[in-house]
Each structure stands twice: as C-alpha cells, then as structure tokens.
Symmetry: C2
Subunit: 142 residues, 2 copies
C-alpha cells in the first residue's frame, strides 16, 4: 500500500486519456474506478500532469481531462520526468573528505549512476502511450 506507485498510476491515467483522445473528456471519477482508487488521488497526480503540460483539465459540468497532444507523441519518459522517482539517491551526509575514497566518491559514483539511469530513460522514451493503449486493447485478457 505504501510502495510509491505514482508513476504507474500516472501512466494508467494517461493510457485511458489516450483511448479517449479526440473524443470525450474523462473525469477523475472514471479514472479512479479504472485504477481502483479515490478520485482525489487521481486529481493529485492530474495536477502534476497538467503543470507538466501533458494534460489539460477543464472544471465544471461536462468537465474532465484530455491530452494536450496526440498519444503517439507522448512517451513513458515524458511521464517519468513528471512522476518518476530517481532509482538511486546519494546520501545527504557528505562523505569524509579526509578519506581517500570519501573525498571523491560522490562524484565518481554519480557519473556511473547517471549513465545507468540514462540507459533506462532511453528505453522509456521508446514507448508511447499510444503503444500502451493499443496493446491493452489488443490483449484484453478476456
């Protein structure tokens, strides 16, 4: 229950919006039912997607959300940049500079880690939410 699933929920929301692109607006209540959570949880994430420029949300009756551009032009990386967590963090305490390892460790590790993260991000950039929606619709399990 406390496992930082915000990125996955954001992708789920975006996939639903992809399926409705060019059609009707989708409200937070409908997305909440699909994700199986509370509409407020959805709106919390929605806000960030709006601020990030991926979604436009319209309040009021007949309101709801739509993608700001075609789902073929939105990748998992776009969402990851908004809702993703860095897989690895450096400690807040600085290592001891009097130690041969400590004095340069942070910089050395950081460069290695960013290479690894970039490799992951390149993979995320290859997948669009149009792809995701298509696959979900093609293999609906039953």
């Amino acid at each position: 229950m406390y496992t930082n699933s915000q990125f996955a929920v954001a992708v789920h929301m975006m996939t639903i919006l992809a399926g409705n692109y060019g059609q009707q607006r989708v409200n937070s209540e409908l997305m909440a039912r699909s994700v199986n959570t509370n509409p407020v949880i959805i709106r919390r994430i929605l806000r960030k997607l709006v601020k990030g420029g991926l979604v436009a949300a319209v309040p009021g009756a007949t309101g709801g959300s739509v993608l700001t551009r075609p789902p073929e032009q939105i990748s998992l990386l776009d969402i990851y940049r908004i809702e993703g967590k860095q897989p690895v963090c450096l400690p807040e305490n600085n290592p001891n500079p009097e130690c041969l390892v400590g004095k340069s460790f942070k910089g050395v590790l950081c460069s290695k880690l960013s290479e690894a993260e970039q490799a992951m991000e390149r993979k995320l950039a290859e997948v669009t939410i149009a792809d995701l929606y298509t696959e979900c619709a093609e293999f609906p399990l039953f």
Copy 2:
C-alpha cells in the same frame, strides 16, 4: 535525510573494502567515519552484504570485514541486487477488470518497465568496485 541512500552507502562501503582487499580488515567504525554516519547504520547494511555473499565479517578484537572475492569480480549490479530499490512499483490495488485499459494494464506496463530496468542493470553490471576504487584514487580532488 530520508532519501533512501542505502544503495549509495553500500557501494561506498564496498569501495573502501576494495581498497583494502588482500590487506587488513576494515571495521564498521572506520567505514562510518568515511561515509559520515553511525556505525550501526553501517552494520545494518553490512549484514545484508554478508547474507548476499559479497562480504565476510569477523567479530572480536582485530575483527572487521573483507570482500569474499576480488573487487574486479564485484559489479554495481551485484550490490544493486542486494541494496537497490525497484525504480518503479506497480500499485497494490488491482485495476478494475471491467475497464478495457484496466483489465490488461498491469501486464502490459510491467513488460515495458522490465525492459527499461534491464537496460539500467546492464549498465550497472559493466562497472566493478575495482573501477570505482581506481577512479577515486586517481582523482582524489585534492
């Protein structure tokens, strides 16, 4: 202060052990000074590294820790498998199966994410703690 730096600390510890491989044992107090934290924090992580087979810890006077194999044969991935966090988690609540997206979403997203994670892990596998120690020693900042 609460940023999940355990992987980074584990790598730091392993890099220190790499610098002492074949020489003396290293105790948790020394590693704590280099990382700039408490020896108990070090020992908590040490336990997992021991259980994971990367480190041997000897109690008692003159005790301390050593690597179980040469630092050239220990990669960041080996440490990541013990102390790393999954960069992305799926939500605990299952999506609504009555929704076209919800019913197959988890499986579809999961396969895309594991490709991305594998790309990151391949990069982590390329770096050994011998590399890290060498770089730290080569560029000690001052």
